[in-house]
């Protein structure tokens, strides 16, 4: 495109239009690259994850319907090489307000993602799924999942109190070659939350409890994930041009249940580590079309309760990092860039790693 055509286009884009509006269609197109370099003794392994997501938001019956999908490419280099790529599941999520005090959502995840992985690809995906390595996307997707969630709120003076409940029915799928008709357990979630707002400051406490039913293979119960409790607390400042956020999240996971010698029992020790996450974020918009943001985060994963010499032992891990970015709004278009650098250690510091995350998104309103 030459400059003569570009100038009127930029002029048109600069005309003021509200980007966020429930009555118009919006699209987000972008991509990110997440690279992690792992060092164990003298062995260096590098894994790169490329993801290109697409989201379309449509106004629907007074609410909004989001359609989200993505392509992912993962490559490992170093001691061994492996790569895998394919589409992720496609998610449909509709959200509607019921009056002023309730929000209902219906969501479905269609199994368009790559499945029935071969042994090497499955091994690479298992690395991606590790909680201590912090990959943004950890699977190509599961089966056909359908769920709903209802949230209610009550306001009194400075206090806002909310209560939510959700249920997701998980569909069967074939996660790896040879393991067919694997049906993950359905998931029920209850959330409660309290906001105390004083002028532009919001103090928040939220909690979510998740209960997962049993995973089955060909109808046989094989595993049940432990109950999970998430507690989130934070302070938020919402100024006209400056927004600050400081948030702490603690995630506690309890014992799993396993099929052991024909008996479906709770595991002897809790094999799940717990998460403690701290997240700081600042967003400053000096002029209407420009926003600058910076963030820092820390994640600590505790070791599980198995002894160090046990094959089920999972050591503690810690990840910390910082990043920043900017967003430019030109008329109905919004372009944002984000860079994050993280360092960390896993398995009781026997593995050291560093990550880089580069992200860009173009949002358009029609």
């Amino acid at each position: 495109m030459n400059a003569r055509r570009l100038i009127p286009l930029i002029f048109l884009l600069c005309l003021p239009h509200p980007v966020r509006c429930a009555t118009q269609m919006e699209a987000d197109l972008g991509g990110f690259m997440h690279q992690i370099t792992l060092r164990r003794d003298t062995t260096v392994t590098r894994i790169r994850q490329w993801v290109s997501p697409l989201q379309i938001r449509l106004p629907l019956a007074g609410g909004a319907l989001d359609i989200q999908t993505a392509l992912m490419y993962v490559a490992q280099s170093g001691a061994s090489s492996e790569e895998v790529w394919g589409p992720l599941n496609t998610r449909f999520a509709g959200t509607w307000k019921l009056g002023r005090r309730a929000l209902i959502s219906l969501h479905a995840s269609l199994p368009t993602g790559k499945r029935t992985l071969d042994a090497q690809s499955a091994e690479l995906l298992r690395t991606l799924a590790r909680n201590d390595l912090n990959f943004p996307v950890r699977t190509f997707g599961d089966g056909l999942d359908i769920g709903t969630d209802l949230s209610l709120v009550r306001q009194s003076g400075h206090l806002s109190l909310s209560l939510g409940a959700g249920y997701t029915r998980k569909g069967a799928y074939d996660p790896v070659a040879g393991a067919t008709n694997y049906k993950p357990g359905d998931e029920a979630t209850i959330t409660v939350g309290l906001d105390y707002t004083w002028r532009r400051l919001v103090y928040r406490v939220s909690a979510a409890g998740a209960h997962r039913l049993t995973d089955r293979v060909d109808g046989l119960a094989v595993f049940q994930n432990g109950k999970q409790i998430l507690v989130q607390t934070g302070v938020y400042y919402e100024g006209l041009s400056l927004r600050l956020q400081a948030e702490i999240v603690d995630i506690v996971r309890m014992k799993n249940r396993l099929l052991d010698h024909s008996l479906f029992l709770y595991e002897f020790r809790d094999s799940n580590g717990n998460d403690l996450r701290v997240h700081l974020k600042a967003n400053w918009s000096p002029i209407r079309i420009l926003a600058l943001f910076a963030e820092a985060n820390l994640k600590h994963i505790t070791a599980n309760t198995y002894p160090v010499d046990s094959p089920l032992y999972q050591g503690r891990a810690r990840i910390w990092g910082a990043g920043g970015g900017m967003a430019i709004t030109l008329g109905k278009a919004r372009l944002s860039f984000h860079i994050t650098r993280q360092d960390g250690s896993a398995v009781d510091r026997t593995v050291l790693f560093s990550t880089h995350n580069y992200r860009g998104t173009l949002s358009l309103a029609f």
């Binding site: 989200q68 799924a129 943004p136």
Partner: protein, 418 residues
Amino acid sequence: MKNCTRFIRRLPVRLTVRAVAALLTAAPLAGCGGSHRLAQIPKAQLAPVFAVPSASDPAKLQKSAYAHYRRGDYVRALRDAYGAARDASPDFRLPVLIGLIYDTGFDRPDLAIPEYRQFLHTPPGGKYVRRLQQRIHYLHRLAQERETTLALQPGAPSPLQTAPFAVYPLQQAGPRQPEPGVEIGLLDMVFHGLGGPADTSHTDAIRPHLLRHAFQSAHSDATPDAFSRWVGASATLTGSLIDLGAHRVQIVLRVFDTEGRLSHTGQPITGSLSDLRALYHALLGSASEGLDIPLPSPLPEPDIPSPLPLVLYGQALEDYLSGRLSDAHRRLADAGRLAPDSHLIADAQERTEQELAETSGDHAMADVYRDMMALPDPSEAMERRLQATHTLAVPPPSALTGAESLQPYKPSRPEVTP
């Protein structure tokens, strides 16, 4: 500026945005903004009051309105407040500010009440709603006093034209001085027993007494017939009371029509205050006959069952009407202890307590508004909380955010532990 303030104080109608615009145009014609005291006026107030507000942002206009209010510049305060009210979704506290300007700036309780009431429909609730309800009660009383004062002006319409009947205290007859309070206490019980108040609110129950008191204060030679002509109710119930001694009384009820003519004189009723139930039922019967109002069936029990609390109630009512709130409150507290089930005493006690609390309330209301500014916009706060809860239950896919999801991923576990 004070002239402008007086000008608005005298206005008989509620101001609208257009009315304020017209008022600001007409104010100089009414002698507002005279230059004789220009030197005393702060520089910030010398800007033309009729100019379009410099700020267009509703939040800034509202802030400016409050700043003008704090400086005592109520006209500019009202102008900016109405400017802010033009916004499509004005701040939920704006009606309180407008009410505050009318209430404590212009002494217009009648205009402040609807503004304060608007806030009661918003969901922040809690102590602010209770505080405003208390203020509204108090303002109702002030508004009624204002209406009464206006009604006493020559040529003003009759204040109780639509009421079925009004009451005027029993006149003393005979050589003995009856216990003060009996004459109004008995009649007030009859008034309520026959459904005199238009509804059960405090303010309507007290209004006929306020009117009667204002009339008696304005006319030292006030008579029941003159009162009935002025008040304009279909009928006015009054009568005479003779103290026979030993708690015995003789009462003759009389009814005057709207022209001040005596339309009914009841049979003399002789009874004892010690047997208040029988006396009350006899009075109800006579009043029902005179007013041509059917007797309620079954006959209601006297709300105040014994003479001492009745006397205290009647005296407290007079104290209240004369503005002696502390005395009224003390007497009602005593009466309440003697007749704990009486609704009349309980209502009067609540009304008096609220007004006592409000007597020094002008500055407190400004503090209430200032405190309210720390409140979140309820719609925004609810939306924010709903989104937070919803995001926790259904986190956005991390493929979109490029960051780790809040919920740890649960990997598949198809293998069976050996």
